[in-house]
């Protein structure tokens, strides 16, 4: 596939990530930090985000399965998840984390469980789309150098 078409596809995918509300402004800042000195910066940050997220999702699941539920601990974990999500511009995930924390604050276990399912779903979709997008970007870059 030629370079122009690859770049166009990557740009189109990027636009849809923003238009559909998966990403917002902080992600643009990440992209601005990527340069010749840090050519893989976005991928490195996103990979750290995946690692952070996997750990926190596991912690939240464990906390939700404990009886009685420790809502303070749950809130703390989700606060961390919200923090890292918002820092990379994962808008949809961040918003659902906020909803979760409201249920947590009200000690509404059912609400927390429902909301957490949504958080995991939003995160899984974002991760899939980001992986596809970043692969397109890499392919376009390789094609440019060829």
């Amino acid at each position: 596939m030629d370079r122009n078409r690859l770049q166009h596809q990557a740009a189109s995918m990027r636009r849809s990530l923003f238009d559909q509300g998966y990403l917002d402004e902080p992600f643009i800042q990440l992209e601005e930090l990527q340069d010749d000195a840090s050519p893989n910066f976005v991928q490195e940050i996103v990979t750290l985000f995946y690692t952070d997220s996997a750990r926190l999702i596991q912690n939240i699941e464990h906390a939700l399965n404990s009886r009685p539920i420790d809502f303070d601990k749950l809130d703390d974990y989700m606060h961390q998840f919200k923090g890292s999500s918002s820092s990379i511009g994962a808008k949809m995930v961040t918003n659902e984390c906020t909803v979760f924390r409201e249920y947590c604050s009200a000690e509404n276990a059912e609400g927390c469980i429902r909301s957490f399912q949504q958080v995991k779903q939003d995160y899984a979709i974002l991760r899939r789309k980001l992986e596809v997008y970043l692969q397109m970007v890499r392919q376009a870059a390789v094609s440019q150098k060829a």
Binding site: I45, L48, H79, S86, S87, I88
Partner: protein, 142 residues
């Protein structure tokens, strides 16, 4: 070199500023480290408030400290209070994902100069550096 209105974001004016990033989240540490490098700074990065306090006790001082609020061992509120009690005159900027007015007020009262909600943006850093450079100019003129 001509310095325009954005002198604060010039690498030339920032290169002598010493900066400390205090955050327990490796992703945030990496992000803020790179944000600051984008502005020509070379920050030191530590994982919690106690490490920041230990550095100060060893005689290290910083022009700017970016302080997270929620950290293990010693949180940002405790660390900020400890640093001010020890006479630290650094600009300390709180960075927190807990954005309720009461939580930010409590953090401010510990001795912060400013408090921002995460994530930091380039505009926030630009503002902070402008304030730092203004303070630096005032000290020079006095």
């Amino acid at each position: 070199m001509v310095l325009g209105n954005d002198a604060s974001s010039s690498s030339l004016s920032n290169k002598n500023l010493s900066v400390l990033v205090v955050d327990d989240d490796p992703l945030i540490r990496m992000l803020h480290d790179n944000y600051l490098k984008h502005f020509g700074l070379k920050p030191l990065v530590v994982e919690n408030g106690k490490e920041a306090v230990d550095l100060f006790q060893l005689g290290t001082s910083f022009d700017l400290i970016l302080m997270d609020k929620e950290m293990p061992i010693m949180n940002g509120v405790e660390a900020t209070k400890a640093l001010r009690d020890m006479g630290a005159t650094s600009m300390i900027v709180g960075v927190t994902s807990r954005g309720s007015p009461s939580e930010m007020q409590a953090f401010m009262e510990a001795g912060l100069d400013f408090c921002f909600e995460k994530p930091l943006t380039f505009d926030m850093i630009d503002f902070i550096l402008k304030e730092l450079n203004v303070n630096d100019d005032d000290d020079t003129n006095n």
